[in-house]
């Protein structure tokens, strides 16, 4: 079979809804695209641990301290699952991790921002995890089967995180004025990054991942689902939105592409977000200080007891 024939058959397979396994033949573009996509997802899970890690020391009750730790633990666990799936596409975890440390690969925009207090835990846990769940649930039908298998577990755990985040939010919303203020303040800071999270309108002609059915829905479609689901819930709790303020149109809550200031996202895409350098530097420093741990784990025992 010629390459063109293989490619055509691969396209037909995807068209018919068939899934791709690691050992199947796939075009290099597909392999590279899927690898990059899953690598970024894995990077995001482990970088996503850092903002919440910064909030963990000041959890306000013992139970919250344990449940937040457990939530971050799940996220680190997700990165573990995802790096494994990505590795099978031809890049070692060590290589992916090194690229992350040196700013040669990407992670989600929301993890480039600073956190200030417990209100951030509520917004991250409820709205950012809510946004993540909308995008991840859409990937459950991705054409790359090994990815969908780990996503099943990831989405189940994200569902729990969402409950956890909503629970924290509801306590703040029912609490003192100071507590309500904590949520509102965090919402004011996070709303624009959450809109960025879904990315700008998808160019269907150019989006290879959409064509290969690695992704199944467009950015604007996902953002719309998020807005319709969460805007009413936030309003109901008596909180208000900063710019870009969602407006009601034909039974939908709308934030148009042109309502969004994209400049901050462009900086983050160049790994120049407000916290990018500091968080990567922290990770890099610890990684470099612990070369000896990796050696101890990978080399055979030299000092038998």
């Amino acid at each position: 079979m010629t390459y063109e024939e293989k490619l055509a058959r691969f396209g037909e397979r995807l068209e018919s809804g068939d899934k791709v396994e690691t050992e199947d033949w796939m075009p290099d573009d597909y392999r590279r695209g899927v690898l990059k996509f899953i690598e970024m997802h894995a990077n995001s899970e482990i970088m996503g641990a850092l903002p919440e890690r910064e909030c963990l020391p000041h959890a306000p009750t013992l139970k919250r301290k344990m449940s937040l730790a457990a939530k971050i633990q799940d996220e680190v666990g997700h990165s573990q699952l995802l790096y494994r799936v990505a590795e099978d596409l031809g890049k070692s975890r060590e290589a992916m991790y090194t690229d992350l440390l040196h700013g040669r690969s990407k992670f989600h925009n929301v993890f480039h921002y600073p956190v200030f207090g417990w209100g951030d835990v509520a917004v991250i846990g409820w709205l950012i995890d809510g946004a993540a769940l909308v995008t991840q649930a859409a990937l459950l039908d991705s054409s790359y089967a090994p990815y969908t298998r780990v996503l099943k577990r990831i989405c189940a755990e994200e569902q729990l995180h969402l409950r956890h985040g909503e629970d924290i939010t509801l306590e703040l919303a029912s609490g003192t004025d100071v507590q309500r203020g904590m949520f509102q303040d965090a919402l004011d800071r996070w709303w624009l990054p959450i809109m960025h999270f879904f990315g700008p309108r998808t160019d269907r002609g150019k989006d290879l991942l959409l064509r290969w059915r690695v992704k199944t829905r467009t950015n604007e479609d996902l953002r719309q689902e998020f807005l319709d689901r969460y805007v009413p819930k936030v309003l109901e709790l008596g909180f208000t939105f900063p710019d870009p303020v969602p407006r009601e149109e034909d039974g939908h809550w709308v934030v148009g592409d042109s309502d969004i200031d994209w400049a901050p996202l462009d900086r983050i895409k160049r790994n120049q977000g407000p916290e990018t350098a500091r968080r990567l530097e922290l990770r890099r420093r610890i990684h470099e200080q612990h070369r000896w741990v990796r050696e101890a784990l990978s080399e055979p025992a030299v000092h038998a007891a």
């Binding site: 963990l56 000041h58 013992l62 000896w292 000092h303």
Partner: protein, 277 residues
Amino acid sequence: MSEALAAVAVALADDELVIGHRHSEWTGLAPHIEEDVAFSSIAQDEIGHAAALYTLAGAIVGRNPDALALGRDPSEYRNAVLCERPNGDWAYTLARHWLYDTAEDVRLEALARSADDALRALATKMRREERYHLLHAGTWLERVAQGPVEGRTRIAEALARAYRDALALFEPLEREEEAVRAGWLPDASTELRSRFAQRATGQLDRLGLPTDIGAVADEAAEFVASSSGDLLAAGPAPPEPAVASGGGGRRGRHSADFEALWEEMTRTYRVSPGATW
């Protein structure tokens, strides 16, 4: 009288809370991703044990567990100084983890014979979880001790640094005599201390790690911190070990690192004490 029991439970809860807090600082940054997940569980377990012990104490003194955990002044905490030391690197964290859990096993072994029903039941339950902690710490220690020279050197140094602090886990607890007399504490701290030292050095010897750390510890106890923080030779033997050499925690004397930890740990709680979170 049972306030002595509460005092014992609070001191042990403080240990668990503070070391759990330190352990949890590795979340997302541990030197191996699978280990990050495993170590987080250990941190969660320790905080869970703290919650159970505060609940036990709270029932006696009429305070809720969160108020005990987060609503006291720094000088009211009775954790051993070992627990509050900064994590340093993975070698120090591992050394402390191993020493702490070995010490805890010695203590829980005794508490599982307590005359107090609630404490006895809790200690028995905690021991089950601590078995994983001990296996985890022991397996890591063995791997590093038998591995390449850099890790071996680092872990030996870290153990030497943490050991005297670990002995101070067995400084007498407040109102200990009362608790021993009532049988709540079946064995006095001094007795547990020598049991711990024997067990720890025995296992280090088996791993081929230096066991003369006990001597280092005794020597270190002869020094006290000057106001500038330097270690100065003391004149006559100090009446009690100073914070710099790991002592004092059981009497509410803590290091500057604890102040910072406390500030951070109680920050949100202090925003509106009594609020629901």
